[in-house]
Symmetry: C2
Subunit: 350 residues, 2 copies
Amino acid sequence: MLRNELTKADIVARYLPKKLIAVDQAEAFAPSNIALCKYWGKRQNELNLPVNSSLSVSLAHLGSHTQIRPATSGEDQVILNGQVLTADTPFAAKVISFVNLFRGQQNYPLIVDTRNNIPTAAGLASSASGFAALTLALNQYFQLALPDTVLSAFARMGSGSASRSVFTGFVEWRMGQQEDGMDSHAFPLDVSWPDLRVGLVKVSSAQKAVDSRAGMKRTVETSGLYQSWPAQAARDLETIHQALIDDDFSQLGATAEHNAMSMHATMIASWPPLLYWQAESVAAMQRVWALREAGVEVYFTMDAGPNLKLLFKAKDQLLLETEFPDLEVVAPFAEDSKTNLASESVNAAD
Amino acid sequence: MLRNELTKADIVARYLPKKLIAVDQAEAFAPSNIALCKYWGKRQNELNLPVNSSLSVSLAHLGSHTQIRPATSGEDQVILNGQVLTADTPFAAKVISFVNLFRGQQNYPLIVDTRNNIPTAAGLASSASGFAALTLALNQYFQLALPDTVLSAFARMGSGSASRSVFTGFVEWRMGQQEDGMDSHAFPLDVSWPDLRVGLVKVSSAQKAVDSRAGMKRTVETSGLYQSWPAQAARDLETIHQALIDDDFSQLGATAEHNAMSMHATMIASWPPLLYWQAESVAAMQRVWALREAGVEVYFTMDAGPNLKLLFKAKDQLLLETEFPDLEVVAPFAEDSKTNLASESVNAAD
């Protein structure tokens, strides 16, 4: 951290009352999200401020449920999918240091109990939904009643893409320009595509060798092609905007695939090469391209991992389930769940 | 072609006598070459003028033998690996139109007999060695006694990378800047690395769906990351120069691999995505990286196809032949064959 650089704690403190008052228990859900225009590269590390704006679709019911309650033992406790973690595991340490941003020196020992219902093999990161759910739960627990955009900015300080998981449906995260990052938050787009389907193709559930944070860093520092990325991402974001306005699925799918491939290209041009693909990833891509060649409107996107996420329309679901037998299909707008999680998350104590 | 743009024929004519005189028969050999800093993208299509300079190593005895003799039938004949081709096959058409650059309207019906000794499965393009050997044979056949650099520039008009196949050993092709392209030719570098080995890994010998010419075009026109390529290639060329001066194999290998991956990255970021890799290509890359992780100094490069070309030192040959059972190993400097093919190619009639 540079001298005089704002810390997360400085920023959060501005939005909080001097003295916190907690309810008995709070609970929130936040969905996973799949970026159609990717976040890749930070302009500032401490606050997770991105080099480019991004756009995602949230995965409806797939995500993280987080409950917060007082730790009567006086010691913080982090529970993940029913398992109590010791404080020195990376996950527990991250959760506790995020909670500390809110409670500061005040004596609020907490139990943070998180359950992810993301299919473990699907290669979906849980940090986005996890930090979003935690932020929403803390907002309830300490009765902060913060605006959605502030909650999104806070979630972003936990994990960049968590800023988008605060909302459902299509979500845009504007990169912002302020030093404190408070204009770098997501907002929901007023578009609903009930026919859209996202298909999760499992290639491998192995732990990735290089995590996204380290991957971004290596790309920014060593990839000669990375300097063209911000302009590419800006163009793709505009094209996806237009596709949403025009209700043009092909344009959206093609741009999302091109954007994902461009992001992976920046990694492949890193040194040492950063290749998240497995042999099976290439085989799956080739199947998608062959299907498209045959007239099926299917596109894919990929994150910092080997798995493909297919984008297609409801009418092609059966065909794609035949082609990809283990496909896990999500309907992001099935119940037209264009709701505001921040305002509607449950405060169990109310 | 734009109006007023120079044609190949205009340019060649400048270097030729008004009236050609032929010998009875001429024969030349030119080696394949593997670029360590790749040629990817044309700034001018008619003359194959490149966007960036490149650097290669020639593959010693692997390449094309081309013999030219008069066609007593009065009809041109093109023979490839012993098979007579009809004039309308793409290969024959290209050869004849190249020969026409030299003989113009003069009546010299020819038999062009080419034999490639490149292992067919190794995924080596034969157009580089083919056009280089043809240029050298024509130089002999018509007793042109052209300087090597002119022959290299002529070969470039047949196929860009043929400019480098006119020479053995390490070869640099400077992009040049003249409109007629006559400063866009290769020259040999005065460095010999007898310990260097190139290992050809066969992944697939299937015909590629998109040829290099079309692939370059798509990349230049649709890849948002391509704009960063020329600067990357320029940096890599400088680094490889320095590695040659410092006798630094690791630097050479690492830069060649980084350069190849960067080139493929520009393709992957094209639309539709241009992926020359097969699933097996990724598996082979992962084997190389695992070997390097284990301390073996091996690097790879790849061209517009699915096959890997390994770079390693003589001492590791046995180990690599065990790891890659079908490896075809070439010693580019084994007989320290730093010769000038242009001057030494056989003129059977002399």
